[in-house]
């Protein structure tokens, strides 16, 4: 049976899109408030150092400077030992990463604050810095930081929904290893002995930046009642409220976070890094404080994605059946724990059926900026390792790499490394659909020419999907229009999709529906927009709120028309009796009735609130076709595709766009994006010139193909999370394509021209 939909499953242009693409959207940096002052941070020039002397007197005396603040000015309740990044607003005695804020200057003008930074005198005593991920594993490595007491490990657990069978670190643990866990089942060693083919390799993935266009930014005001008002570039207004309330030591009722459009976050803006410093200073000054990172500051001192080192060992029988997988995954968390180790280590062994499995996961800290989430955190690194290994295995077995994947792909009931079984998933469907794409049909289309080599590669990717409770309200206005309020930050067109859901539920044209993200003092609660969960969690609340409003309207109409609610339907802005369309009451009349002066009819206010819905892992296969110049190592990406199981596409236009964005980002991780540090831990490329996000010219047209394996209860109409799966596999696919083209394989991401040349043996050493 085919259900026909009027609003959902339709290609709906983004309702806020025109303002964005014409420069009309207001972002945090655009806002100016009465009596507002500007904060700038002095950032440490060393990766690891003690602050021996800090003299701010000259900066304080500089004309136009309103105040200069150091760790001594922080609220007394904040821990002084750098327990967690959010609370470590300014370095206190010890600098743990290059670019760490040491002091802040506040002035009438941002440029004056910047000038005064130069007048602050700091005497540092440099300490040995731990930078390499393998060095950080060593027992005799110098400590990354002096005090490890009270260190906060809660963020690590937040990346996964399971209770990990993890081991606590012990006294024998190397000083910079902050977490170790092992997952195992079966007998891997025996399986390796009995296997026909064993492939063993190791991989590295570099530090990368999320590459959002709007840098970290925040404005915070504190009035004389001690009430805070916040405007900040964030993925979660409520998580910002929660974080600020903790740092400030005030109840959440004292913090109001306004919704402002965000120019990209990709996971980096889960924590309110842009708002903490201005909040603390606003409390002291009782004036609005604006704090905008420059591009360079953002690249140096935000929360980029961590490097990883992964060893794999895969066993198979001659027929291609995988019999064992063993891996060791090390994730660098930077100077604070909180890496995506669990998510990465789990997905590392989650794409295929492995009867015997053993995965050891380790988190280390280093003297680098603390890491944050980047779209499917930990997954591109893990996917690169497993999907390179599987490609090598296909070659060793002489099997088609796609057939090998189909043969071993997980289905419902199969176990993840963490011991949980998959619910209904669409990986096999995705792999089958791949064969029908234009990419696949044209994969042999362009032969190698002019000495260049053409190759095709692909890789499986996935993301389990996060979840959290949510709520929404749907209210009928006097003129028959409908206002929807949510607390979720719209980062990918979710408000447009919510409008489609309400339009579908109420039978009301989308033009008469307005969805707004309210501020935290008014809006119904929603969790942070992250984990590919906003549409499927908040969307369920919106759907329920719309149904609740409709039920209330049906009740009123059934009384007026003296019929049963069951006999009513809502079509084209009116509620009518099924089969007797002349018996109807319009939304306009209902709006008037439910708001009119003296009217006995109650206001129509629908409410929806749900807990975390069922899990809905989303899988993809991504393909890349590349042309490689074997003399220079240059890679030209000719074609790219992503097939993804999205459950149900509420707005296919938006879904395809989001997938294309994810693919673009994944290809950047594959061939160009990398934070480059010198041997002292100083970031060498803090500009978008040298931190190479692909430009439009670097990328081909990106084909998308949607597979819909809906999971009931996971999201409205069975929708799954869309945002994260498409970044998982692109880098791995690109490296597999390069290998197909030139016969040499790169084991470190990104596969830069230099690494390709080295793999080809064209560079000495």
């Amino acid at each position: 049976m085919t259900t026909t939909y009027r609003s959902v499953h339709q290609r709906q242009p983004r309702l806020e899109g025109a303002a964005k693409v014409t420069g009309g959207t207001v972002y945090t940096a655009d806002l100016r408030l009465h009596r507002m002052v500007h904060a700038k941070a002095l950032r440490a020039p060393y990766a690891h150092a003690l602050i021996k002397r800090l003299d701010v007197s000259k900066a304080r005396a500089y004309p136009g400077v309103v105040g200069v603040f150091t760790a001594a000015d922080l609220p007394q309740h904040l821990p002084r030992d750098g327990a967690n990044r959010l609370h470590t607003v300014l370095a206190d005695k010890e600098v743990m990463y290059y670019g760490q804020p040491v002091a802040a200057v506040v002035a009438d003008e941002a440029s004056v604050a910047e000038e005064a930074l130069d007048l602050i005198e700091v005497e540092y005593q440099e300490l040995p810095a731990v930078l390499d991920i393998l060095d950080a594993l060593k027992q005799d490595a110098p400590p990354v930081r002096h005090s490890m007491a009270g260190i906060d490990r809660s963020e690590l657990a937040a990346h996964t929904t399971l209770a990990a069978a993890d081991e606590q670190t012990t006294e024998k643990t190397p000083p910079n290893v902050t977490h170790r866990m092992v997952w195992s089942r079966g007998d891997v060693e025996r399986a390796f002995k009995e296997a026909d083919v064993v492939v063993e390799r190791s991989f590295r993935a570099s530090w990368t930046h999320q590459g959002y266009i709007e840098p970290m930014s925040g404005i915070v005001d504190c009035d004389r009642n001690g009430d805070y008002t916040v405007w900040t570039s964030t993925q979660g207004d409520f998580t910002t409220r929660e974080g600020l309330a903790k740092v400030l030591g005030v109840p959440e009722t004292k913090v109001r976070v306004n919704f402002v459009e965000m120019g990209g976050g990709f996971g980096a803006k889960i924590q309110p890094f842009g708002a903490v410093l201005p909040a603390i200073i606003a409390r002291i000054l009782r004036r609005p404080v604006k704090y905008i990172f420059s591009r360079s500051e953002d690249l140096r001192s935000a929360d980029p994605s961590s490097q990883a080192y992964i060893e794999t060992k895969l066993a198979a029988k001659k027929d291609g059946a995988f019999t064992a997988f063993k891996a060791r995954a090390v994730y660098d968390s930077g100077s604070f724990p909180g890496s995506p180790l669990m998510a990465g280590a789990n997905l590392l062994g989650a794409y295929y059926k492995f009867p015997n499995l053993e995965i050891e996961g380790l988190e280390v800290i280093t003297n680098r900026v603390s890491q944050g989430a980047l779209r499917a955190p930990g997954t591109p690194q893990a996917t690169f390792a497993i999907e390179s290994t599987v490609d090598i295995m296909a070659k060793e077995l002489g099997m088609d790499p796609l057939e090998l994947r189909i043969k071993n792909a997980v289905t419902q009931g199969d176990l993840m490394p963490n011991g949980r079984a998959f619910s209904k998933i669409g990986l096999v469907e995705v792999l089958q659909r791949f064969k029908e794409t234009s990419f696949w049909k044209n994969r042999n289309g362009k032969p190698s020419a002019n000495g260049k080599k053409v190759g095709v590669g692909f890789a499986v990717g996935g993301w389990l999907g996060g979840g959290s409770p949510s709520s929404a309200s749907v209210e009928l206005n006097a003129d028959g229009t409908v206002s929807v309020m949510v607390g979720a930050n719209d980062v990918t067109g979710t408000n447009t999709s919510f409008a489609q859901i309400v339009s579908e539920a109420l039978g009301l044209p989308i033009e008469r529906i307005n969805v707004k993200t309210g501020d935290t003092s008014l809006a119904p609660y929603a969790g942070v927009s992250a984990g590919s969960k906003t549409l499927r969690t908040v969307g369920l609340s919106v759907q329920r709120a719309a149904q609740d409003a409709l039920d209330q309207m049906f009740k009123i109409v059934s009384e007026r028309l003296e019929c049963s609610s069951e006999d009513l339907e809502s079509v084209d802005g009116q509620i009518r009796v099924k089969g007797s369309p002349e018996k109807a009451i319009t939304f306009e009349l209902l709006g008037t009735m439910s708001t009119g002066f003296g009217s006995p009819t109650p206001v129509i206010l629908g409410r929806g609130n749900v807990g975390t819905p069922a899990a809905a892992p989303g899988f993809t296969i991504q393909g890349a076709k590349v042309e490689v110049d074997p003399e220079t190592g240059e890679v030209n990406i000719l074609d790219a595709v992503c097939v993804q199981d999205v459950g149900f596409a509420i707005n296919p236009l938006s879904v395809e766009g989001q997938i294309q964005g994810g693919v673009a980002q994944s290809l950047g991780l594959g061939f160009s994006e990398e934070m480059v540090w010198d041997d002292k831990g100083v970031l060498r490329n803090p500009t978008l010139l040298d931190y190479r996000i692909p430009t439009a010219l670097d990328l081909p047209r990106i084909e998308t193909a949607l597979v819909e394996v809906p999971v009931e209860g996971a999201g409205p109409y069975g929708a799954k999370g869309v945002g994260e799966p498409p970044i998982a596999a692109g880098a791995a696919a690109l490296v597999n394509a390069v290998s197909d083209a030139v016969g040499a394989r790169v084991y470190t991401l990104p596969a830069t021209s230099e690494r390709i040349l080295a793999a080809l043996g064209k560079l000495p050493g």
Binding site: T632, E634, L689, D690, P694, T695, E754, L763
Partner: protein, 296 residues
């Protein structure tokens, strides 16, 4: 950033006078694609910015079969690659002008500014050296001419003294049976800085079988753009063959003295110097034979 004075002179003499008055504290503005970025980045401060876009001599672009090409120092890139005569007689100059920055940058950026910025990786400089360009410099004293290969003295430094102004670049008319080609290697498709670049010009014998002479210039492999005379010498009188080209490429590789930085390593740059010299030579030979060769 401190306050500074903005002046827009209408003649070379007026521009020189404005520059002389402030010495090191004055800077010349043409397209501003380097100057304004550096100023805002705090690389230097200044008291006076002298905008030369209104000076006629700095905006001339004219070709004459006897005199060659004159490119005013402030002529933006797009005028160079849209000019049919330039495209016909100096395709290597078009190779370079087309790849500086992106389309928007090319609407403003000038070859003169690219040269005066004196970056080791300056995209037009290798092509200018290969094409035997000279820099015409006005100043408080006599107007003087300096071959482009002698113009840059260190990263960001040139032969320009206080009060001196680059007026134009003069390129001799192309010799019979000559061709030139400029190539650059960057890590992405556009909007990047060369890891290595190579500008090559070659003159072929009347029967098109051997090299009469060649000029090879490399970018981003030394503190200044490098004129590799050894590579040219290796080709003089040699037959046109892959073997001859390989000798020149090896000379280029040997001459390169690059550094390791975040854009590339010493070994990668040496390797690419040879690859790009080889390819640019092939392109130059093809152009000398009248064949069409694409730019980058």
């Amino acid at each position: 950033m401190n306050d500074f004075e903005y002046r827009a002179p209408a003649s070379v003499s007026e521009a020189v006078a404005l520059l002389v008055e402030k010495g090191e504290r004055a800077r010349v503005l043409a397209g501003g694609t380097d100057l304004i970025v550096q100023l805002r980045g705090g690389r230097f401060t200044l008291d006076r910015m002298v905008d030369v876009k209104g000076v006629p001599e700095l905006n001339q672009l004219r070709y004459d079969a006897a005199e060659g090409l004159v490119v005013g120092a402030a002529v933006p890139c797009y005028r160079i690659y849209e000019d049919e005569l330039v495209a016909a007689h100096y395709p290597a100059l078009v190779d370079a002008a087309r790849i500086i920055g992106g389309i928007q940058i090319q609407g403003r950026a000038s070859l003169g500014g690219n040269l005066c910025n004196a970056s080791p990786s300056g995209d037009s400089i290798g092509a200018l050296i290969a094409l035997e360009a000279t820099a015409v410099i006005a100043g408080p004293g006599e107007t003087r001419s300096v071959p482009v290969e002698q113009f840059c003295t260190a990263p960001g430094r040139s032969v320009l003294g206080p009060g001196e102004l680059l007026v134009a670049l003069r390129l001799p008319p192309p010799k019979p049976r000559s061709g030139a080609h400029y190539l650059r290697f960057i890590p992405r498709y556009e909007m990047d800085i060369a890891i290595v670049s190579a500008g090559v010009a070659a003159v072929l014998s009347p029967d098109m079988s051997s090299f009469v002479s060649a000029r090879v210039a490399l970018g981003a492999v030394a503190p200044t753009p490098l004129f590799v005379t050894e590579a040219g010498a290796a080709l003089a009188g040699k037959p046109i063959s892959e073997e001859s080209i390989a000798l020149a490429a090896e000379a280029a590789r040997q001459a390169a003295r690059p550094i390791n930085d975040m854009r590339g390593t010493v070994e990668q740059r040496r390797h690419l110097a040879a690859v790009l010299t080889t390819r640019a030579l092939r392109g130059a030979v093809a152009r000398a034979k009248g064949e069409q060769v694409n730019g980058h």
